[in-house]
Point group: C2
Chain length 512, copies 2
């Protein structure tokens, strides 16, 4: 057994079952090992950022790391931004990065880079394998690294000679998933605050699971607290009668207007909220330090802490299901509100919505409040181009569930290669491109900055209208059946058809 | 005048006239400054790696840096691999990277990363602007950094508050381009070697300009030396009767078979050649140390050194133009040889060929030997996905010249967003996609490694055939008129039409 085979065997032993890959010459022994040591599904991606985005989506939905197999420093570099998003989402991801043979690297071949330095941008755990004899143990360590702190990015760099050489004895036994804890004194402090005045519970990580939201809802019922989530949460279970969680607004002035209503904001499984960008005269944090009480950080036992807090405040045993109407089907030319209403109105029970709709999607969060139960994923790190890849990974992680990728055109144009993997793997992903033909956030920012008449360069930098992107051709070019609509009725018809079928579909929703 | 305006004014003062951009909120003052301080053409790219690839192509063709304006660490990360290629090509590139306001960064907003660490992967010069008062001077320093050593990547990180604040007094005067030198003792050593035995001149950088190749040809005429170039040169002037320069083969065993013919290999404007990958039992360097004589490094005065060497060996004043036939037009189903023959047979005088055809293009180099004079650009750093961006930048740098992007499908799929910029800017780029529907280099490597029956995973990782990429739809989806052909006659017809017209065109050459 060579090092590559030992690595794959160790990965299987650690529970890895999917490898999103774009390998090259230096990774060929690992590719061959995926055949000779069966147990991991190899999924080819035509761009590394699709592979890393897929690993993020897969990890968020399954709670366990997928492997990304990438080619040297440049392969890792191409996948960095979705690893950045994964890092911000606390997703466990295992990168296995091939490297030149250790004896060849000193000659500085053209593809050589400082891989470790690049990996550190996004990884909590980085290690270079030192030889074939120890590479299986290194792999197990890296998976362990990916599982720490509630989910991290771990990167193992494997030189070609460590793949080819004779492996050591049997791979290590499977490591235990680390047990999470929480601090009881934080529970008491939070309980006092909740009893004393008007508070909000700001939920993240596992506090946004069904169990977490139900417990938070019970605490809210006992104390009158509001439930909040970050503007860009990693994953939230929503709809189907679950208590409503309000999202903190994107712009910090609006966020502060919300948070100033509360004596305390109790932070559960996330951190004191930070403005997405800094605006002169507006603070970086949208809660004051005095106002902020941390119950748990993302890597702590938020479910245990919420259970203890519920007991402490004498919360009722359950909460009544929230009821309400799904949006009525709109009619006429499409705008951001009607695209959101059609999706929220039609999305099926138990679906997964990967939402990178940004300005196109602002109405969607509230519109989907009374949808049947679903998992809502968002862009977390702000690095655009995540949606198509993450939807791909979510579909591979949850084969029985329909995935809807609600996608803006500006962000979507970053990651069109993902459609090919969706087609190749026959994945059940329906992509709705909200096509406003602009980087509209830039227009919004210009207007907020008082720039009412931007010059030609500024106008051109925000406009995707010359030429239009033809998403039907792009989708079909990568193998996904695609259609364009420009009315709410048309979108509803095509979305119903796509949801009734199986396999990938793309719908371009052209907005007026 | 704010810092952003002072920066743009300083850039104009330093001769910058193009900015390849994908800006975000933190760069809006710089975008507005491109309007208020006119003189730089803003070119929007839908992916940062298109912007950096364009800057590489522009810099190789004009010899001066373009500006890349990118959004924070993630924007830079997305553009890293073509900056890696630019670094390996010794192309001058100026990155201006926006950053969060310095007062906001300590709060660790979601898009925050260690920008400087990422920049160091590819940049010789990295600086963070310390305020609006000094940002213009920082910009001039960065351009100076880009001009050093014959062309480097320089990165200036500009926080939002450095863009918004009041600028200092007038920007600095334009810096002189550094004067190159060479070592006379190397000339004498090379002359002795050339007179004593059979040698090759290995040419790179400016030694592959018209003047360089003519001087090398004169030296060859006097000494019987052969002329060589690296497998992946940055730019070579070719055809139109210029002396022929042979390319060192890609695989090191074949390269060593070539170089062992020579008593000495005299290195001019490049470095001792290194195998692209390391193969067990084959050395990293394809010349021995004793065999290698360095006349000049890439940043040195290769033209001066060649002139001195020509005098030293008593070279004739000129060389007779090399004559020969262009390839005959092939017929029938397309293969790699016939695609190459059609392009080489039809390419017009004074065109630029950006060649990222890899295995599809192996025949092209020799086929184009007797084409009319043209500039030949290649992928330099091995990080695939450079061609469409570099062709875009070359077209912007040389508006009067036809650009042919000879592109393989695997590499091309990385950078499809470049077609949109070609359409938007009306660039005169004809893309020929040699569509073999595979990452064929992996098949070649497997065969060389003796793997005759790869398993399903290995086969799948090399195959782009399920589904096929439909390049006509992809090209048209991004706004470029596109057509597919599968015979040599069809390719010739469509290529002639495309070359006769103006503006971007894409031809998918489907190989049997």
């Amino acid at each position: 057994m060579n090092g590559a085979e030992a690595l794959v065997a160790a990965a299987i032993g650690e529970g890895i079952d999917v490898c999103f890959a774009n390998p090259g010459t230096t990774e060929m022994p690992l590719v061959l090992a995926l055949d000779s040591v069966p147990g991991i599904r190899g999924v080819l991606c035509l761009h590394e950022n699709v592979a890393t985005g897929a690993a993020d989506g897969y990890g968020r939905m399954t709670g366990k790391p997928a492997m990304c197999l990438l080619h040297l420093g440049p392969g890792l570099a191409n996948g960095l931004t979705n690893l950045h998003n994964a890092r911000r989402a606390h997703t466990p991801v295992l990168n296995v990065i091939g490297e030149h043979a250790s004896w060849h690297l000193p000659a500085d071949p053209l593809l050589a880079t400082h891989v470790e330095g690049v990996a550190r941008m996004v990884s909590h755990y980085v290690k270079g394998a030192a030889g074939a004899a120890t590479v299986a143990a290194d792999l197990a360590d890296a998976v362990d690294g990916a599982r720490q702190s509630g989910g991290q990015v771990a990167t193992l760099i494997v030189p070609h000679d460590s793949q080819l050489g004779e492996a050591g004895p049997a791979s290590p036994a499977r490591r235990a998933v680390p047990r999470k804890t929480h601090a009881p004194e934080n529970v008491l402090r939070a309980a006092r605050a909740l009893k004393a005045g008007r508070c909000a519970l700001l939920l993240g990580a596992e506090a946004l699971s069904e169990d977490g939201i139900v417990m938070a809802g019970r605490i809210a019922a006992a104390t009158g607290a509001d439930l909040l989530a970050d503007s860009f949460f990693a994953r939230m279970e929503r709809g189907g009668g679950l208590p409503h969680v309000a999202k903190i607004p994107y712009f910090p002035d609006q966020a502060i207007e919300l948070t100033r209503r509360y004596a305390h904001v109790v932070v559960v499984g996330t951190r004191r909220p930070v403005a997405f960008f800094g605006y002169p005269g507006i603070p970086s944090h949208v809660t004051t330090e005095a106002q902020t009480l941390v119950l748990t950080a993302p890597h702590e036992d938020s479910l245990g802490a919420l259970a203890a807090l519920a007991a402490e405040v004498g919360a009722p045993d359950g909460v009544a299901p929230v009821s309400g109407e799904r949006p009525a089907m709109p009619a006429g030319p499409l705008d951001a509100a009607s695209v959101a209403a059609v999706i929220a109105g039609l999305q099926p029970e138990n679906c997964i919505v990967m939402d990178e709709a940004l300005t196109v999607g602002t109405a969607y969060y509230d519109a989907s409040r009374h949808a049947p139960r679903f998992s809502h994923l968002m862009l977390t790190g702000g690095a655009i181009g995540e949606g198509p890849g993450a939807a791909t990974g979510a579909a591979i992680g949850c084969p029985g569930r329909k995935v809807i990728n609600f996608q803006s055109d500006g962000c979507g144009a970053y990651s069109v290669q993902a459609f090919w993997t969706q087609a190749r793997e026959g994945l059940d992903v329906v992509t709705v491109i909200g096509s406003n033909r602009s980087y509209n956030i830039l227009n919004v920012e210009l207007a907020r900055a008082g720039v009412t008449e931007p010059g030609p360069v500024a106008r051109s930098m925000a406009a995707l209208d010359n030429p239009f992107l033809d998403w039907v051709k792009i989708g079909e070019g990568f193998g996904v059946p695609s259609v364009a609509v420009d009315t709410a009725e048309g979108l509803a018809l095509e979305l119903e058809k796509a949801l009734a079928g199986k396999g990938p579909r793309l719908i371009e929703a052209i907005m007026a």
